[in-house]
């Protein structure tokens, strides 16, 4: 760990033990440029930003890439998802102490039990992709919430598209 990063850590722990936010910020920051290598000294966070190991730190680093989205009844990782998961993989490579859960979700237009199985399949697809990028499988938990925890509350295509998701959530 280089000195700059250590400073960030100190500042972060001194300034804020703020919320262990489990949901994404309301206005998502733009996706960051992928860091070329894991040894790059400057992570994409401000010196006064949130603490490593918090969801805020993760979200500040990868932006909207904390969550990937799926088509109706699908669980494949498309090119947009792949880019997001690559951003996640770089973050997790940079902070190997961080463990996390991938929460799989479905939209409300499915039966309850099938959606639980579908959410599991989506979260596992995201996990497998991250593992293929070098993230140790032991760091990743998977849980499905089916259609039980929507983030978008309307009953229309736009809301359903937001709810068909696999969200990576920092757990330590």
């Amino acid at each position: 760990m280089n000195t700059k990063l250590a400073t960030i850590l100190l500042l972060a722990s001194a300034t804020s033990l703020a919320a262990c936010a489990k949901k994404a910020p309301e206005v998502l920051p733009p996706p960051p440029e992928p860091a070329p290598t894991v040894t790059q000294p400057a992570p994409a966070v401000q010196p006064s930003g949130p603490q490593v190991g918090s969801q805020q730190h993760f979200a500040a680093a990868v932006g909207s890439s904390t969550t990937i989205y799926f088509d109706t009844d699908r669980y494949n990782v498309d090119s947009q998802d792949a880019a997001a998961l690559q951003a996640q993989a770089q973050y997790f490579a940079q902070y190997p102490q961080v463990t996390f859960t991938i929460e799989g979700h479905a939209d409300e237009r499915g039966t309850r039990e099938y959606n639980l199985a579908l959410g599991e399949r989506r979260a596992t697809a995201a996990k497998n992709f991250l593992v293929s990028l070098g993230v140790n499988a032991n760091r990743i938990s998977v849980v499905s919430y089916g259609k039980e925890r929507p983030v978008a509350l309307a009953s229309n295509e736009g809301a359903w598209a937001q709810n068909r998701r696999a969200a990576s959530v920092i757990i330590n």
Partner: protein
């Protein structure tokens, strides 16, 4: 489970220690048998039964039935009603009237608009009084408080035109169980007049829902078939889903997130203890009982892929019944236990399949348009109810080969059918568009008599138990 009536009075007992029961409320009594008192009339009822098929349902509903207040031999106080046994007799008649009316059966007229017979008229009705009221059938009954505090409830069905008794039966119940006597009487009337099996004296496990759509609290709950005697079984700190009553009502299978992951627990109603259906790290969903209660089906995701497993209800090794890269989930046994209908998306979308109980000979049966989900085999064996997804979600039935599909409901999202114990009525839950609010509804096999069940809060995942002993 024989001392259940006593156990009902001991509800304040401390919750037994259990390592995983963080979300459980106080346990409730196990379900008991209603003692039948000796009467001499009911032997010849079967062959005299007026048999109707489901398509003749209108013929039932035309039968006028007068149900005046039940009499009492003498006014006595009872914990069942603060007005005493006389007031209780009126309540019993009201419950019977509501049962028959709410299910579209017959044309019942209740005690509030009828004269009250005296106790000595229960076995000797004043038929002239009732024939003038266009009542074809007449229900009489009485309530008597015994010295030991128990109630004796007698139930008599008369044909007014024939001036003849059709059937009679009596039950001994604890004061807390007085409604069961009313349900038993309802079942006696229903079965005698239709030739069908009874269903009123049964219970429903379901999920009670409160709170906004994105922070819904989902609790395990139970109620009688008419919505009475509602109880919450879990506290709501963990999401509970998809309950199933065991065939003897002693246990409930359900899914809980109490440890953070979706897992199936076997909740013992009498002891308040619960155990995992399968001790491993994988998520388990969609629990089902075999008809004899000896086996449990559950679905388990391993490395993201969900298949159906069977485990003895007493514990032991699980057997994997499906082995397919698609999602195989749910499962419902035929009444004889020989076959299982389940859903799978192995063809690319949710469809219904039948296999032998050992997992062999898996065959798709749904080939109509749309998707087939949450299949449930009728207790009569002849039909399978399911969620049909074709744009909207509707409740439908088909025969066991997948033929003769009939859509019964037209909600925006109706799902998860469960059968009445006699296979004549289906309950399901209906979710409102946008608000996400849900309620339990029922419909009969003709698609008629659709109605919402009264529940204290929103409700989903109804699971109708068998007729009670």
């Amino acid at each position: 489970m024989k001392p259940a009536l006593l156990a009902a009075l001991l509800l304040t007992a401390a919750m037994p220690a259990t390592g995983i029961a963080q979300d459980l409320g106080a346990p409730i009594s196990e379900d008991g048998r209603v003692e039948t008192t000796a009467t001499d009339a009911s032997a010849a009822q079967a062959e005299e039964g007026i048999s109707f098929t489901v398509t003749d349902e209108n013929a039932w509903s035309d039968i006028g039935i007068a149900i005046p207040a039940f009499a009492t031999d003498r006014e006595r106080p009872t914990p069942a009603n603060e007005g005493g046994t006389g007031a209780l007799g009126r309540e019993v008649a009201r419950v019977i009237t509501a049962n028959l009316r709410n299910n579209g059966l017959f044309k019942p007229v209740g005690p509030d608009s009828l004269p009250q017979p005296a106790f000595n008229q229960i076995t000797a009705p004043a038929f002239s009084t009732w024939s003038g009221r266009s009542a074809e059938m007449l229900v009489h009954g009485y309530v008597r408080a015994r010295d030991d505090g128990k109630l004796v409830v007698g139930c008599y069905l008369y044909d007014v035109a024939l001036q003849d008794e059709l059937v009679r039966e009596g039950w001994v119940v604890g004061p807390a169980d007085w409604r069961r006597a009313a349900h038993k009487c309802s079942d006696l009337i229903f079965s005698r007049l239709t030739g069908e099996s009874p269903f009123f004296d049964s219970r429903i496990a379901y999920i009670a829902e409160t709170g906004p759509k994105d922070r819904r609290v989902k609790r395990l709950a139970i109620m009688d078939s008419d919505g009475a005697n509602h109880r919450f079984l879990t506290l709501g700190s963990a999401t509970a889903l998809t309950p199933r009553y065991s065939p003897d009502y002693s246990k409930i299978l359900y899914l809980s997130y109490v440890d953070g992951n979706p897992r199936i627990y076997v909740y013992d109603i009498g002891s308040g203890k619960q155990t995992l259906v399968s001790e491993n790290r994988n998520p388990t969903i969609a629990p089902r009982w075999s008809p004899d209660g000896r086996f449990i089906l559950y679905s388990m995701a391993v490395a993201g892929n969900t298949d159906i497993y069977r485990v003895p209800a007493t514990g032991g090794a699980s057997v994997k019944l499906t082995d397919n890269p698609g999602i195989d989930v749910g499962g419902s046994y035929s009444p004889d236990g020989s076959k299982i209908v389940f859903e799978s998306d192995r063809s690319g979308s949710q469809q219904c399949y039948v296999m032998n109980a050992d997992g062999t000979n898996q065959k798709r049966i749904s080939f109509f348009g749309g998707r087939c989900a949450t299949p449930e085999w009728s207790p009569r064996g002849d039909q399978i109810a399911f969620t049909r997804i074709a744009g909207d979600f509707n409740i439908a039935v088909m025969n066991t080969g997948g033929g003769n599909m009939r859509v019964l409901t037209r909600g925006w999202q109706d799902e998860a059918p469960t059968w009445a114990p006699n296979g004549r009525i289906i309950q399901f839950f209906r979710t409102e568009r946008n608000t996400g609010r849900s309620g339990i509804w029922q419909v009969d096999l003709t698609g008629q008599n659709e109605r919402r069940l009264p529940t204290p809060v929103d409700a989903s995942d109804p699971a109708w138990g068998p007729i009670r002993p």
